[in-house]
């Protein structure tokens, strides 16, 4: 670790302190929430009411404006949880465990949203609500992993042990992420390949993809604000016996 600049190292050490996190992020929440609401409002109204209908699917294609960002964040959230798991196991950073505990229900909600919207879209497009193809099955496994991690945390009484068990499950489950991503390429599935990639132009005109981009950014901010606010609550809950939290409560009451 000799090559890491001092400033970065200091930031890393400070990040280990739940109190630092609580005090720093307090002012972020309203800004993040407001920009998330603005982006999601514009993106959703534009996408659902003003974007032109698809020539094959008609209006049902509009589910993309919810489905794609939800599915993307379901996977990104899981990766965040796995990274927190590594930080917890290797550096024993308590804050990582608090973030991990917060991400699980948020990620599960996004995964459920992706599955539900996909199913609703599947009926008019494919002709079925559900099919056991590789993509849909692997996303269902992702939902079960999230629910499993939430259950595991509640099943183990000692918080340190619960955190470590969840971290291991989160890290092992990360294998599922590349399977979800490449399922549509590796196997024959009913689900189509990815609509967007970083390397190629989107396969739709700007009037269709700009609202989607706004919603993807909005969903990102919504995810961030949910995780930050949730982690702040988790910090107060777990540090409730410390001096700074009791002082804070006394100030609030006064």
């Amino acid at each position: 670790m000799k090559y890491i600049p001092d400033g970065l190292r200091r930031l890393w050490h400070r990040m280990g302190s739940p109190r630092w996190f609580y005090e720093t992020t307090g002012s972020w929440v309203p800004w993040l929430a407001a920009s998330a609401a603005l982006l999601l409002g514009v993106g959703t109204v534009w996408g659902l009411a003003y974007a032109p209908p698809d020539y094959l699917q008609g209006d049902s294609f509009r589910i993309i404006y919810i489905h794609v960002p939800a599915a993307y964040l379901a996977q990104a959230g899981y990766m965040l949880m796995a990274v927190c798991g590594v930080v917890l196991l290797v550096w024993r950073m308590k804050l990582a465990d608090m973030v991990m505990a917060t991400v699980a229900p948020v990620g599960a909600a996004f995964t459920f949203l992706a599955l539900a919207t996909g199913s609703i879209w599947g009926k008019p497009t494919w002709g079925t609500y559900w099919i056991w193809d590789a993509r849909i099955t692997s996303v269902l496994i992702l939902l079960f992993l999230y629910l499993g991690i939430m259950g595991l945390r509640r099943a183990i009484e000692r918080p340190e042990a619960a955190g470590r068990a969840c971290a291991i499950l989160a890290i092992v489950g990360v294998i599922n992420i590349p399977i979800i991503k490449y399922s549509v390429d590796w196997w024959m599935t009913l689900h189509q390949p990815a609509t967007f990639s970083v390397t190629s132009a989107p396969a739709m005109p700007p009037v269709m993809w700009i609202p989607l981009l706004l919603n993807v950014l909005g969903f990102n901010l919504l995810f961030a604000v949910s995780v930050i606010q949730g982690t702040r609550t988790e910090v107060l809950l777990r540090e409730r016996r410390t001096r700074w939290v009791t002082d804070l409560c006394r100030q609030e009451r006064a």
């Binding site: 670790m1 032109p52 209908p53 698809d54 020539y55 094959l56 699917q57 294609f61 993309i64 590594v86 196991l89 290797v90 550096w91 008019p124 497009t125 494919w126 002709g127 079925t128 099919i131 056991w132 193809d133 590789a134 291991i168 890290i171 092992v172 990360v174 294998i175 399977i179 590796w186 196997w187 024959m188 599935t189 009913l190 189509q192 390949p193 990815a194 609509t195 396969a203 739709m204 005109p205 009037v207 269709m208």
Partner: protein, 159 residues
């Protein structure tokens, strides 16, 4: 890095690699079962079981769709666009997106005569989206049964 942390990181790395390798081997062994459908070339080559419930998938060949008069029976040919063709018959209601040149996945049984008798037809959608005006400019037509007749619904009759 602290040697203890380095060791923990190493253990996690080995764990992930081990689980990854195991998963890769299992998925590789189950490869055939994870595929949702048989493509036309495998059916033509005789790799698909006869008279068992399987799925077949491919593109509906242009000009191959025939509807029998007086019944719900439809016959068409699916192709991989590389020379392998499988004839399909189906009795029932086709999905809205079914059309010539569109991808489909059919659920049913392959007969000894090489004809696939479908009990369910699902439409496959590609990753491209396009507004109707742009599609019309490029000469793409909406699928059958979706004939564009909007605008002639009598809304102009009022006054």
């Amino acid at each position: 890095m602290h040697p203890k942390r380095k060791q923990r990181l190493l253990v996690i790395g080995v764990l992930v690699c081990g689980v990854g390798l195991t998963t890769a081997l299992v998925l590789n062994a189950l490869n055939e079962n994870i595929n949702l459908f048989y493509p036309p070339d495998q059916i033509v080559a005789g790799l698909a079981p006869i008279d068992q419930r399987i799925r077949a998938g491919g593109m509906v060949v242009e000009g191959s769709v025939f509807r029998e008069t007086g019944s719900m029976t439809v016959s068409f040919v699916i192709s991989d666009l590389a020379g392998s063709n499988v004839p399909v018959t189906f009795e029932g209601i086709l999905p809205n997106l079914f059309g010539e040149g569109q991808g489909i996945v059919a659920n049913g049984r392959l007969g000894a005569d090489g004809v696939f008798v479908a009990s369910e037809v699902l439409a496959k959608h590609d990753e491209n989206y396009m507004p109707a005006e742009l599609a019309a400019m490029q000469g793409r037509k909406p699928p059958m049964g979706n004939t564009v007749n909007a605008g002639s619904n009598g809304y102009s009759a009022g006054g």
